[in-house]
Every structure is written in structure tokens, then in C-alpha cells.
């Protein structure tokens, strides 16, 4: 491979590091890890409230703590080598993840009518969560050596499109529309950043405009269609499909300025909120901590995104830049779609809120993302 020469300076800089520990420590980018720690802390604390009343979810926060512990270990592992190792193993990671996705469909565990999990000893993994990261790594790798500046055309998009479409398709059939949409949105964002020819964009836009009604009629399951209708008019059937949206908005709004107090959120404690420890976790937090708490949380997320972007901006190589940018994009879409859904700005799509929603794979993926971003950040002064 062309860029194998990269390893030499990398090794050299690692050697240097040993002798300048203090300086190195100062240079270490702690910001993202600190934000992560704050978010996980809030997440666990919030989860203790969200799961306080339901028998079946009681004590789930302990699992989350366990996953966080595993995540910390992996963070250390990820921080050690240079992130270019990801460039070298990109396709392997991608295919390995793809195999897991196929395995889910074959031997996966069902829950709530969807096959999303695969058992590993005592753990359940959700390969689709990791797939987001794998796709970003894969795309960064794919476009790393490309020199195009004037924009990509149809032919150029075909192969990367396929790289994205295969896992997205596998995820849609699980079915997990939310995750698939995140992957597609991430791909689209990255491609727009890399520049797509205006003509191509127009054609794609036109095709989408034609295809969307058909997708609505044929591609969407009835409950998904219902969600879309409910989003457009949640009051149409407030006790039915619009229920989640309305109850969630009520939860957020009823928090008012200072919130109802920890574990005092009636909407969540009395189960008016569905899925309140996973997709609707933000409404639990919002109800109990009010506008002040919600704004603080939103600032933390914005801090994460801005810091992630500056990592990408300051990255000295294209792989690092695209990798960081892709990771920030994943976070961005998760935050926007989840909060937008909880606050009634977007239709209900099953997308977790990073660090706050319950779920091992989601948490682990987020932690890995931060670890990779930190790795990239730490390497930018090394040259």
C-alpha cells in the first residue's frame, strides 16, 4: 500500500514521547474525554431515575456502568497505536461487521418484533451500532487516496454508495430504520463535504422526489407510515400512534424552567412515556431538570460536536480529517434526530441519544468514537 511509509515517523514520535512525559500529558487532548465522562455520569444518574419504578428495568444502570467500564478499557487500547492502524484495517473491520450483521439476521435475538441483537456469552451486541463507525472508517479509507477537488459524479459514487447500501439494507430488514437512516445521513453528509457535482445532486434530488412516494407506499411498514402521519398531526390520534409524541412533548414542557426534581418526573415515573430509558431518555431528563438542565446538556453536546470538528479541522492528513468528520457527523445526526423527535420536531425514529440512552452497543460505539477522535487530536502536534 502506498501510505505504508507513514509508520516510520509515527514510531519515531512514539519513542520521543517516553522522554517528555509531562509535556506530552499537557498536549494530550482531554476535552473530549472530560465531556464524555460528564455525559456518561449524567447518563447513569438519569438512568437510575428512569428505571426506578419499572420492575423489569430496575437496576439497568448497573449494566450501563459495566459497559462504561469495558469502554474505558477499549479507550486505553484505542489511544495506544496511531490511528492509521484503522486505515490499514478499515476493510477488514467493515467486512467483519458486515458478517455480524448477516449473523444477526440468521441467528439473532428478537425483541419488540425486531432482530437486532446477537448473543456473545452473557452479552448482547447490536452490530448495527458499530456499523456506523465501520462505515465511516471505510469511507475515510476509500476517499483517503482520492485527489478529486472539483466534485464527484455518478460513477464515482457508485462504489462508496454500494459500501453504504449493503449494511444499510441489512439493517433496514432487521428492521431498524433509525440506524439505517443515520448511516445514510452520515454518508450523504460526508459526500456533500467531499463535494458532489451540481448536476449529479440535481439528478439525485429528482430521483428521490420521484421515489419517495413509492417508498412511502411500498417500502414503509404500516407502523412506520403511521408514525409519519402522527408526526405531521400528532393530535389526530392522541391515544394511539400520536401518543408517544404528545406524551414526550408534555414531559419536556412540564419540566418548565427548573424541572420537577430528580425521580419526580410524573410522566416517566408513572409510565406515560414509552421507551423512556432508551429512545425517550431525553424527555426523562428534561422533565426532571427543566430548561436549565436541558440547556446544560445541550451545551455539552454542542461542546462535543465543536471540539470534534476542531479535531477534524486541525487534522494533518486526509484520513484523520475524514474519520473525525465522519464521527462528528454520526454524533450530530444522533443528537439532532433524537432530540428533535423527543421535542416533536421530527417524526418518531428509533435513534438513541449518545451516552444517555440505555444500551451497551450504543454506549460502546460512542465511547470508541470519542477515543478515536482523541487519538486523532493527540497526533496533530506530532509532526
Amino acid at each position: 500500500m502506498k501510505h505504508s511509509s507513514m509508520e516510520t515517523p509515527e514510531l519515531g514520535s512514539s519513542n520521543l514521547r517516553l522522554g517528555m512525559y509531562d509535556e506530552e500529558f499537557k498536549r494530550f487532548n482531554w476535552t473530549l474525554l472530560v465531556i464524555e465522562l460528564l455525559l456518561v455520569g449524567i447518563g447513569i444518574f438519569n438512568l437510575m431515575s428512569a428505571t426506578a419504578v419499572q420492575d423489569k428495568s430496575l437496576g439497568l444502570y448497573k449494566n450501563q456502568l459495566l459497559w462504561f467500564g469495558i469502554g474505558l478499557g477499549l479507550t486505553a487500547l484505542v489511544l495506544l497505536p496511531h490511528y492509521s492502524i484503522l486505515s490499514r484495517t478499515a476493510y477488514f473491520l467493515y467486512f467483519a461487521n458486515l458478517v455480524l450483521l448477516v449473523a444477526v439476521l440468521l441467528v439473532g435475538k428478537s425483541s419488540l418484533g425486531a432482530k437486532r441483537w446477537i448473543g456473545f456469552g452473557g452479552f448482547r451486541l447490536q452490530p448495527s451500532e458499530f456499523m456506523k463507525l465501520s462505515v465511516v472508517i471505510c469511507l475515510a479509507k476509500y476517499f483517503e487516496s482520492d485527489r478529486t477537488l472539483e466534485g464527484y459524479g455518478f460513477k464515482d459514487l457508485l462504489l462508496p454508495g454500494l459500501l453504504v447500501a449493503i449494511p444499510a439494507g441489512l439493517i433496514i430488514v432487521q428492521p431498524d430504520l433509525g440506524t439505517a437512516l443515520i448511516i445514510l445521513a452520515t454518508f450523504a453528509t460526508m459526500m456533500l463535504f467531499l463535494k458532489v457535482r451540481t448536476k449529479t445532486l440535481l439528478v439525485i434530488g429528482l430521483c428521490a422526489a420521484i421515489a419517495l412516494p413509492m417508498v412511502y407506499k411500498v417500502g414503509l411498514k404500516p407502523y412506520q407510515r403511521q408514525r409519519l402521519i402522527s408526526f405531521l398531526n400528532p393530535n389526530a390520534d392522541p391515544k394511539g400512534s400520536g401518543y408517544n409524541s404528545i406524551q414526550s412533548m408534555i414531559a419536556v414542557g412540564s419540566g418548565q424552567l427548573t424541572g420537577k426534581g430528580y425521580k419526580k418526573g410524573t410522566q416517566s415515573q408513572l409510565n406515560f412515556l414509552p421507551e423512556h430509558h432508551t429512545d425517550f431518555i431525553f424527555s426523562v431528563f428534561s422533565e426532571e431538570w427543566g430548561f436549565i438542565g436541558s440547556l446544560t446538556l445541550l451545551f455539552l453536546y454542542m461542546g462535543l460536536l465543536i471540539n470534534g470538528l476542531s479535531v477534524a479541522y486541525q487534522s494533518h492528513d486526509k484520513f484523520g480529517l475524514l474519520l473525525s468528520l465522519g464521527i462528528v457527523t454520526i454524533f450530530f445526526w444522533h443528537i439532532i434526530v433524537n432530540m428533535g423527535m423527543v421535542m416533536g420536531l421530527l417524526p418518531i425514529v428509533g435513534v438513541p441519544l449518545p451516552f444517555l440512552s440505555y444500551g451497551g452497543s450504543s454506549l460502546l460505539t460512542s465511547i470508541l468514537c470519542i477515543a478515536i477522535l482523541t487519538n486523532v487530536a493527540n497526533k496533530k502536534f506530532m509532526f
Binding site: 414542557g253 418548565q256 410522566q267 430548561f291
Partner: protein, 688 residues
Amino acid sequence: MAFLGQEEQIREFQDRFRYVYAIVFIAGALLTSRLVYLQVLTGDKMRQYSEENRIKRVKITAPRGMIFDRDRTLLIDNRPAYDLEIIPQYLKESKQTVQVIGVLAKILRMPESKIYEILQKAKSQPSFMPVKIKTDLTRDEVATVESWKISMPGIDVREEIKRTNIYGDVAAHLLGYIGEVNATELPSFNKKGLKYKLGDNIGKFGLEQRLENILRGIDGEELKEVDALGRVKLGQGKGRVLDANSIKAAKPGKNLVLTIDQDLQLAAATAFGDKSGSVVAVDPNSGEILAMLSRPSFDPTEFSRGISSAQWNKLINNENHPLRDKTIQDHYSPGSVFKTVTAIAGLEEGVIDEKSTIRCTGSIRVGNRVYHCWQKHGHGELNVISALTQSCDVFFYRVSQKLKSVDDLAKWAFHLGLGAKTGINMSREVSGLIPTEEWKKKRFNQPWNPGETLSVAIGQSFVLTTALQLANMYAAIGNGGTVYRPFLVKAIESFDGNLLEQFKPEILGRHDLKPLTVELVKQGLWGVINSPRGTAYHQRIPGADFAGKTGTVQIMRLSADKIYQKCETFKFRERHNGVFVGFAPLKDPQIAVAVIGEHVCHGSTGAAPIARAIIKTYLEKKFPDLYSEKAVAARLKGVPLNPPPVAVERDEEDIIIDNDSIPSVPIAPPPLPPLPEGIEKDSSELDD
């Protein structure tokens, strides 16, 4: 460093970051403004919504007032019953629903399809409103459902106080029943500010309906904290915000003490057996109704708890009309019992006196028509006493001929309370009919035919009376001419027994009869029962001066071959009605009773025994010193206590073979039987 040529590309990329930052900031601003909107701008409203979500208002049904008879025997009580309800909101189409319904069907021993059917029917109402699946669960069922409840979301057992008519079908029409207010009734109630809600019970019939405002309690309300599955949160104080004032107690309705004597009711019901008809007993000195029955009857409790369509159809298709209150809703030709009116009119108008006698030869001729007496061979020489005793038709034909016109007869009928509603506090009372010349002119645009007066004189032709009017009329004769408004409620009491209101007799009209008139009529009526020539001699009560008058009324035009056949050989619905009205004791009457037996053939054997049973029960109960068997035996040494069976055949007694006097066109269309849903028509009569 990195790849050759990458620097240029990276610089180009860094340029593009402007847009990326911009997008992130815009998204952040968007989310922030939404937070401001939801939590700051509309926070109050959202907080209120969340409170409403969490706090369910649970109605505490106020117990309806109880109903007692005059001796405080409980007639209508509230007894707990258990209903099973499903809140459909928590049953979405899923495996769980199938499972829940499956279990439920087994517990309740009803087919699953039936449950689905009930749920399907309730589809139109909001899904958070409970749907009643089964009423009156057994204790076992309640226990089993309660133990399964945790795994069956949306299932609830509701305790409800059910209205129970303790004596079943005795006095069903009088006491009535309750039912859920329906959507068409609601506006008319709420217009009066009575604030009923769908699902509330209201009186639908009888006293339950008429005295709704008194019997109805004011429902209370309890605020309960519930979770999204509708389960009441019992919690250990954690997260509970409701304080102790979250309960507004229910205010029970007021109790009624009736003028009715349940012992008489039971005696009447027993005496009636399976005959159909009605009986009314009043206190001649106050107008208090002592007994009031219509037969056949129905069990109001079944109605109050929701009657099945099969039971309903059975009742409505019964040709003896169990749903009709025959005491006030139906009027009948009184027949010979009306002869007392003719006698009084004759005596009061001065056309006859105690010395007047008339010779009965079996018939008289008016113009070219012959008017017969029921006694073909004639009664011979009669005065007013023996004419009443033997119920001679010719005597009263002659009296009516002596009167100036039918209006003189009608005047005394009106004075005695006939031809107008008594104004008893019950729905659907009919007024009966006393014909006058003016009435006929108005009704048929025809002048009065003098011959018709003869038919009126013996209670035929257009004359129609209700059982209540007859009892009230004889009460007035008994007390010397005072007509009281019959009433049913003696007192209203609070739920804990404090007297709130007491009702006094109300005089409708007072036309004092000459003492001699009263004396003569009373003697005639006494003879009916106590003279061997009387038409009801075998009904006498030894030791008690029981007086009365029989009547047998042909109700169908009979073909010539049937006229001389025995009534019992006719088809049931063509048989004569038997009427009896009487009072006792003779000197100072304490009770007056009217009995109408439908298709019983004879007033003497079909109706009089029922009146006798009531009067005997009443006298023995009220005056044991005078009328208990012991007291009577002591007073009348050697006289057999039970009247010996009288061999005299009196089959043809009173019956008027007079097809022409039976109106071929019904004077007033009979009122329709009450429909449970149709009762709202009368709700405007509800007392305030």
C-alpha cells in the same frame, strides 16, 4: 506532511468547515429555541397536561335514597354488585390481548367472541373509557380476576351499588326502576341544571322516575394517582403528591316513606294469583294509598341491572301487558259499580227518595229500543237499597230517565272524582271519561240520544274509569263526600333517618252528601255482601261490615249465539271483566278498595275475593281488638266465622246483554306500553 498533494486538498477542506460549523450552530439554535418554546413559553400548559395525565378523577357513586313502606319495611335497597370492565386503551392488537381475553373468557365462563363483540361495539367511545364486559360477578369470579389482574392490564373489577327491589314483581309499576341516562335524555336533564353525566343512573319508571330529585344523591369524587396502564399507584409515599383532601365524599339521596302497606300488597298479590288486572286501596280519611298493584308484573331489579333483549321481548310480547300500570294507565267501563253514582245523583237531585220504589219487569222500552235487565224475569218491586243490593238495571234506567239530562248524572260523577285525573304523583295517569251532552257534541258532532243516558246510568256506553278513580270514589262515598287527592309518599327523610318533609292530605273536592243519601247507598252496598240476595253474598267478612258493589262488564260485541253462553267458554281475551269496589267498616270506613280483574268473567268471584283479602288483612292488622279472629269469635258467639259456601249460581249477575251500548270505536286510544328508551318523553314531568 502525510501524502504528497494532500496539503492542498486539506486546505480546500478546511475552507469548507465554515459551512459545517454553521450547520452545527444552526441545529443547536433550533434545538435551544424548541426547548424555550416547550419549557418556558408553554411550560405552564404542559405542566397542567401532565397533571391531568397523572390524576384520574374517580367517581364515587352516591347511594340512592331507600324506599320504605308505612311501617318501615324496606322495599328498595342498594346492594353491592361487581362488574368487570376493560379499558380498551391498554389492549392493542397484539398477542397479549388475545391472551388476556382468553384468560378472561375462562374466568367469566363466556365465549371469547362475545367479549370481542362487546369491545367492538364500544369502538366509538374514547378508548380510555371503561367498557362493561359482565355485570354481577360472583364472589369467586371477583377473587379470580383480582388475582390475575397484575398480568392483565386494563382489566378492572368495579364495585357498584345495585338497586334492588326486595319484593321483586310486587308493586313493580309503583316503585319502578332505574337505568343509565342515555344521550337523548341528557340534554333535557341538564337544561334543568341537574348535571347528569353519561353512565349515571336515573329513575326511568314509577316513583324512581317521579321522585328522581329526592332519591338521587350527589356523587362524590376521588382523585387518584394512576400510571399509564390505569393502575392506581399505591406507592410508599414516594412520588405521591396528592394530599388528603383529594376525596370529596358522596352525598346519599333522601329516603322515602310511602303510604303503602306492604302486608296489603302481599295479600293482594297472593289473592290475585296469576290473574291480570289491578287493585288500589286507599284510606278514605286521607287519600293515602295503602295498596296499589298491577298484574301481571315484572321484576324491576332486572331492569335496574340491565335487562336482556330476550327478557324484554318476553315482557313486551306478553298479551297481558305486564309493563302497563293498569291502576292508572288503563281505563275500563266500570259497569254496575257506577250505579252508586246514579243512585246518588237521583237522591241528591231529589228525583227519588228512600220511599221511591220501581217495579222491574226485566226490561223497559225507550222509543223503539228495549233495554234489558240482567235478570231476565225482573226483580219486582225495589227501592234504592234493594236495587243496589241486587244490582237491578231497570231501577237505574228509570232513575236516569227522571233526571233532567245526562249532565245531572255527570255532575255527580265529577263531584266524586271521576272523569278527571286524580293528580296522583305518577306518570301517565289517564283521566277516564264521563260523557256529557257537550262532550258528545264536540267529540262526534251529534246531539245526545236520550237512550244513551240509560247506558251511562249502569256504567256502560262511553263511561270509563281507572281503578284508582273507583277506589277514590268509593272512599268519598264512605266519608260522606270528600274527595282526597290520592298520594303515595308519607314522608321524606334524610339518609340517616331525620324527618325532612311530611305530606298532608289534600282535598280535591268536597261536595257533602246528604246524610240520608250516604245512609241509603251504604245500606245498599252492605246488602250486596251481607244480604242473601246480594250479588256478592259469599264474600262477607264475619264481624266486619264490609260493603261494596260488583260489576261484570262485557268487553266484546258478542254474536247472537254467544250471548247466552257461559263466559268461561269464550276465548280468554273475549271474556268479561270483573270489577269490585268496596269499603269497610260500614259506619266509619277505614279502607276503600277497587279491583279490576281482566277477563275473569264475574265481578263477584273474580274481583271481590281480592278486595276481601285486602280488607280483612287491613282490619285485622289495624284493629286487632275488633277484627282479629279471636275478637270476632268472642263478639259473635255461635256464628260460623267463615261464610258457608253459597250454592246460588249468580253467573249472570250484572251482565248487561246490550251490544249497542258497547262503543264500537274506542273512545280514547289506549296508551302505549312504556319502552325503557321511550320513557324520556315523560322526563319533562319530572318534579322539581
